[in-house]
């Protein structure tokens, strides 16, 4: 299968860089999969999970909002944060989710509500990415 270079860049580091076969990203208008030879493309990304297919192996990353840019030479994903499944601490995420749920229960308003919702979304995404990896690691 044809491959293309993919780079995932965050302000802190380059989270991923390799030749890949496919990448699936959550854009503002829906989920978009990119294969080799995709038309030049620029879009906004929402929080969610990115799926990377490399030599038949699936890699999942949890990302914050950002942008994707596809050029004939390479594909670049610019996001505020990107975490591999290995980098996510399940216990911390569960705690964060509980905190968010508790915060949402108390019916906050304004920025507090937005913050709690963002925290909840992030933890749900992180958990999803974690669960994806789980079945593979256990026979």
């Amino acid at each position: 299968m044809n491959t293309f270079p993919l780079e995932i860049i965050t302000p802190e580091r380059i989270a991923f860089t390799d030749e890949v076969e496919m990448v699936v990203t959550p854009t503002a208008t829906g989920i978009v999969g990119i294969l080799h030879g995709h038309v030049p493309f620029f879009s906004r990304l929402t929080e969610g999970e990115v799926k990377i297919v490399k030599k038949g192996e699936d890699i999942y990353l949890a990302i914050g909002g950002g942008f994707i840019e596809v050029t004939p030479q390479k594909t670049t994903i610019l996001v505020t944060s990107a975490y591999h499944a290995e980098e996510i601490n399940e216990k911390e995420v569960l705690e964060a989710k509980e905190r968010a749920e508790a915060a949402l229960k108390s019916k906050p308003s304004g920025t507090a509500l937005l913050e709690a919702q963002a925290l909840f979304r992030r933890s749900v995404i992180a958990l999803k990415v974690l669960r994806r990896r789980r079945p593979r690691s256990m026979p």
């Binding site: 780079e7 860049i9 965050t10 302000p11 802190e12 580091r13 380059i14 854009t27 503002a28 208008t29 978009v32 038309v39 030049p40 493309f41 620029f42 879009s43 906004r44 909002g65 950002g66 942008f67 840019e69 050029t71 004939p72 670049t76 610019l78």
Partner: protein, 285 residues
């Protein structure tokens, strides 16, 4: 003899000071390395976002996007002052404040936001218009999104005509330069080579160009502020490193002088004792 004991005590305390300042110097050195690394790691992202903004910006009439516009004529000036939370870094903050003072110190029509306790107390002391202070959250980069929000809102609503960020640029470990950088309005980007341009003009942009720009531009601003903060941090640590090195050297010099004085006093005492003994013996004979 009391004098000798006194000198000895002073040598001891100079020694302690030298030890502490040497430790602080080393801490600052490693922190400087870290800040520099961080700034380097953030570079690919900053460059990428700059090209994206530049290219997309050239595809849209400037006046159609509030952030690309000129800003209202009546608005005030806004200065984001990035200083340090702690002192002991030589003339770093003082030089920065002096620049602010000579640049817009007399102008009453300026609002300030401070990052760093030293800057905050300077602004309060000199009776400036301090709008907000983000010193509490460290590292400062944590408060960048909130800060950007304030700046963008202020600019779009026309409260501010121009927004600057003032910080110390890191030139070398020995030299830091107080700098002011305009963040808004976004300047015209200098032209780049044509090859890149052609690429972008064929792009499919989703959902549409203005939606992407709405999100991209604040991002771009955030990034600029973040870069300034990293630079200020590297400056802070390098300045502290040099200041501590100077302090260690001074303490060592001082110790040398004191040791000399101590030895002289000791010798003097011995000479007196011998003279005493000799006179006592002569008195017997």
């Amino acid at each position: 003899m009391a004098n000798i004991r006194l000198i000895k005590r002073r040598i001891k305390s100079a020694q302690n000071i030298a030890q502490i300042t040497r430790a602080m110097e080393m801490v600052a050195a490693s922190k400087m390395k870290k800040a520099q690394d961080q700034a380097i790691l953030g570079k690919p992202y900053a460059e990428k976002i700059l090209t994206a903004v530049r290219e997309l910006g050239s595809h849209i009439e400037r006046k159609y996007h509030p952030l690309l516009g000129e800003g209202s004529k009546e608005g005030k000036l806004m200065v984001v002052l990035v200083s340090t939370n702690k002192g002991l870094c030589g003339g770093l903050n003082t030089n920065l404040f002096r620049m602010i003072q000579s640049w817009c110190g007399q102008d009453k029509n300026v609002d300030y936001i401070s990052l760093g306790k030293k800057g905050q107390s300077f602004l309060v002391r000199s009776g400036k218009n301090l709008l907000a202070d983000f010193s509490e959250k460290t590292p400062f980069t944590e408060s960048v999104p909130a800060l950007t929000q304030i700046l963008v809102d202020g600019f779009i609503s026309g409260t501010y005509r121009e927004i600057y960020i003032a910080y110390n640029t890191f030139l070398t470990a020995l030299k830091q330069l107080p700098t002011k950088k305009a963040i808004l309005p976004i300047k015209k980007f200098e032209e780049t080579n044509d090859k890149e341009k052609v690429e972008f003009s064929e792009f499919v942009i989703e959902p549409n160009i203005s939606d992407v720009l709405d999100n991209l531009l604040p991002h771009y601003l955030e990034n600029q502020i973040r870069a300034a903060i990293f630079e200020a941090e590297a400056s802070e640590h390098s300045a502290r490193m040099i200041a501590m090195k100077n302090a260690t050297d001074a303490a060592n010099d001082f110790m040398e002088d004191l040791t000399l004085a101590f030895n002289k006093a000791r010798q003097e005492k011995i000479t007196y004792e011998i003279a005493d003994m000799v006179t006592a013996r002569m008195a017997f004979e």
